[in-house]
């Protein structure tokens, strides 16, 4: 049985953890929830840094159950902490090699050269002392250090949250690249929806130490019964392909099952896969095809769910094509004036699309 099956229970004063979740054998599973929801504790339990009652199986291997507890240093995992936590008494190179030297030669599948190339660490190694690196650079070294243990699972605890906006932008492309190149499951703890929407394939939602939902990213984000659909930045994620470049107007067309969207020009080759995020507040609804509108992205779909939100808003699910879902947040008055009901064909006007 591949992937991760975990169940942990812990009772502390003022905090109870009772979490049961599974994560698939590949891809990024985000442990998502507000602060205090227990997501970091859960990750530490998986690493064996926290010892609580429970059961944990990774790729068919039992790491913990009623009778056994594998200590952290025997678990083939990579862990990236919130702060880079490089060893200050070791050089950048010695930091990278710390874990590498401690695994069996036969297990050394990830080599220093690969990691240096993946994460652009060449010039950082030359600088020698970790204290001479910026926050983002340190975190890249920490990720490289974890990968050099050839882990069979990668655990990341809000690796971007201690960084400023610039360093975040510097690291994100590397994380996306890892995501594509690594063939191991990644558990990614975050409380930032934009990071999750960008990086995750699966979502485990936590609230007060409990798992309230888990599943594929698209399906889970489109579930109106979950709190994620009612955040200010709630929205849908679309997997699309770069289909056309319009040089005259500097626009790019992306294509997905069910339609196409025009976005600001993206310099990537035709056919490349892109992930787009459409926020619910950027989608308005018309019952007839608008013929003179400044909004060029209009998608036809069917209302598949309606749910009241607060006293004045309504959240709609619009199914486009076979399976793509958009969220749309409108006022209750608009719903009544347009007479919107379940199953109705409507036109979703998309004001803004964020490519990630």
């Amino acid at each position: 049985m591949n992937g991760i099956q975990a169940r942990f229970r812990m009772q502390l004063e003022g905090f109870a953890l009772d979490a049961n979740f599974e994560a698939p054998a590949t891809g990024v599973t985000a442990l998502f929830g507000p602060s205090g929801s227990g997501k970091t504790t859960l990750l530490r339990c998986v690493a064996g840094l926290e010892r609580v009652a429970g059961k944990l199986q990774v790729n068919g291997e039992i790491w913990q159950d009623e009778n056994s507890f594998m200590p952290t240093h025997n678990r083939p995992l990579g862990y990236v902490f919130q702060e880079a936590s490089l060893f200050p008494h070791l050089s950048v190179r010695a930091n990278l090699e710390y874990g590498y030297k401690r695994i069996a030669v036969l297990e050394q599948k990830v080599q220093l050269d690969h990691v240096v190339e993946w994460l652009g660490l060449g010039s950082l190694i030359e600088r020698g002392d970790p204290a001479k690196l910026s926050g983002g650079e340190r975190q890249r070294v920490a990720i490289g250090r974890a990968l050099l243990t050839s882990p069979r699972i990668l655990l990341m605890d809000e690796p971007l949250s201690a960084l400023d906006a610039n360093s975040k932008q510097e690291i994100l492309p590397y994380l996306e690249r890892l995501h594509r190149e690594l063939n191991i499951p990644v558990l990614y703890v975050s409380h930032a929806m934009d990071e999750v929407a960008r990086l995750a394939d699966h979502l485990v939602l936590l609230e007060k130490g409990r798992v309230i939902a888990s599943g594929g990213l698209h399906e889970t984000l489109a579930r109106l019964d979950l709190p994620t659909a009612h955040f200010d930045d709630a929205g849908a994620v679309i997997e699309a392909q770069l289909a056309e470049q319009d040089e005259t107007y500097h626009l790019t067309c992306i294509d997905f099952a069910g339609g196409e969207l025009w976005v600001g020009k993206v310099d990537r080759p035709l056919g490349s896969l892109v992930r787009a995020r459409v926020l619910a507040r950027d989608v308005s609804i018309a019952t007839e095809m608008p013929h003179s509108s400044s909004i060029s992205n209009i998608l036809e779909g069917q209302i598949s769910e309606i749910r009241d939100e607060g006293v004045d808003k309504v959240m709609l699910c619009i199914t486009i094509g076979a399976q793509q879902v958009l969220l749309s947040r409108i006022t209750r008055r608009s719903r009544d004036q347009l007479g919107l009901s379940l199953g109705q064909q409507v036109f979703a006007q998309v004001k803004s699309v964020a490519l990630m």
Partner: protein, 228 residues
């Protein structure tokens, strides 16, 4: 050097030997003790901390008195050493080492403990996720990161042993070439009104102590810069 007779030179040599042996023994004892104190959350940790700190506040004569009773032929430790055919400890060099170790224990334990505590849990957790077992983590992460604490502990333990008087007097007496350390020799000179010899030894002590402390603050300054 005319005023230093061979007995004085022997006292200097004995003092340096006692301070060196004591420092080595202290580091061996203080390191695990400091590690335990830095990491334990047991209720009796406070009791252990208080016991370690006790020599800081007790008059050396009190300490020496109880050590004499403990190590003497009727004391628990004395009975043990005799049963093991190790002889008696009071009035021997080994006895002085035992007394000095107890006397200087807080000066070795506390800097090391502070250094271990300053490292925090995170670097050791990181090392654990990088496959280092407990001993490996201690050797490759905790020890190097606690280096400033070890340097401080070494210097303080050495210097404090050189400066000890009361415990030695109670425990070791005044045997030439065996237990007569520098501080006792100075006392003897003063008693005998040999003030010039006393000056020479005492002045040397002042100079030595100053240099040791200067070294300590220079090293400390350097390390605090590195840490920043």
């Amino acid at each position: 050097m005319t005023m230093l007779d061979s007995s004085d030179l022997q006292s200097i040599w004995l003092t340096l030997k006692l301070a060196s042996v004591t420092t080595v023994v202290l580091l061996l004892i203080a390191t695990p003790l400091a590690w335990w104190l830095a990491n334990s959350s047991k209720w009796y940790k406070s009791i252990a901390s208080a016991l370690v700190a006790l020599p800081l506040v007790l008059p050396p004569s009190v300490l020496g008195f109880y050590l004499l009773l403990l190590l003497g032929p009727h004391g628990a430790v004395g009975a043990l050493t005799q049963a093991l055919h190790l002889g008696r400890l009071p009035f021997t060099f080994a006895g002085l080492v035992v007394g000095s170790v107890v006397f200087s224990l807080p000066f070795a334990v506390q800097p090391i403990q502070n250094a271990f505590e300053a490292i925090g849990k995170r670097p050791l957790e990181v090392a654990a996720t990088l496959r280092a077992n407990m001993w490996d983590r201690f050797m490759s992460v905790a020890l190097p990161l606690a280096r400033p604490g070890f340097i401080t502990a070494t210097i303080l333990a050495f210097a404090h042993t050189v400066g000890e008087f009361g415990v030695v007097l109670m425990l070791g007496g005044n045997i030439d070439g065996e237990t007569r350390v520098l501080s006792v020799a100075i006392y003897n000179h003063v008693e005998a009104m040999e003030l010039e010899a006393a000056h020479l030894l005492a002045g040397g002590m002042v100079l030595f102590s100053f240099l040791v402390l200067l070294a300590l603050y220079l090293v400390g300054g350097k390390w605090s810069k590195v840490a920043r």
